[in-house]
Amino acid sequence: MSLNETDKAVVRDVWAKISKSSDAIGTDAVGRLLTVYPQSKIYFSHWADLSPGSGPVAAHGKKVMKGIGLAVSKIDNLTDGLLDLSEKHAFQMRVDPANYKLLNHCILVVIASMHPKEFTPEAHCALDKFLTALALALSEKYR
């Protein structure tokens, strides 16, 4: 299920259209992750406020979307491009990789609700493949 040239073109195209709202997308997606999948809260027990839209949530959402932007630019080799981030997630943060699937779903839900016209079935398919590949690259250094 690797990304073909059409997938990459679609991902770049959609990202170009939605990246101006990337902060809002990130905030909303992280907020949803914590609300819909409360087990994910364990990674943020050091935050004062875990509610959707709070300061820590917004800051983290921004960080996540920056990572996604980086991945789009490295779409031709996600494994190499995300090596540093993978090390961080594997050794420092030790996030169970199952959570990437959950956050990916939340990101797609947010894009669907904010950009319904852009989020066609084809765009959905390419983005889902991309986010899955991203999660895999992020899990690269785990073991």
């Binding site: 779903h105 609700s113 959905h124 889902d128």
Partner: protein, 147 residues
């Protein structure tokens, strides 16, 4: 037994009260067939599923999408016993249709996304949580009779 809060019951009922079954059902099934193409294995006799355009234009897909969505009405009417409500349908999907139960989750993800696209900002995180809880109970019930 699943515990539902008043907010969850009201939210889920509200979503279905406003539901355009003939739009959302087909859209969700089409999306599933496009995003997860292996699900097409169950629709060999539906004719042209060659590409996204063909799937979106296929009347059999549209009709089946509506049927599936109406199937959720049963859960809506029996929220305190969804497991028993879907026992028969679970046996059907296992014994006759031979559907991998993982596919139920894929379709429910697509349905969530279609509803999110329709509701926009009204699909708040709390609404999403309620809706996804409802769908995961249905998905679990549908997989219950597999052996």
């Amino acid at each position: 037994m699943v515990e539902w809060t008043d907010f969850e019951r009201a939210t889920i009922q509200g979503i279905f009260d406003k539901m355009e079954y003939e739009v959302v059902g087909p859209a969700a099934l089409c999306r599933c067939l496009v995003v997860y193409p292996w699900t097409q294995r169950y629709f060999g006799n539906f004719g042209n599923l060659y590409n996204a355009a063909a799937i979106l234009a296929n009347p059999l897909v549209a009709k089946h999408g509506t049927t599936i969505l109406h199937g959720l009405d049963r859960a809506l009417k029996n929220m305190d016993n969804i497991k028993a409500t879907y026992a028969e349908l679970s046996v059907l999907h296992s014994e006759k249709l031979h559907v991998d139960p993982d596919n139920f989750k894929l379709l429910s993800d697509c349905l969530t996304i279609v509803v999110a696209a329709k509701m926009g900002a009204d699909f708040t995180p709390d609404v999403q949580a309620a809706f996804q809880k409802f769908l995961s109970v249905v998905v679990s019930a549908l997989g219950r009779q597999y052996h």
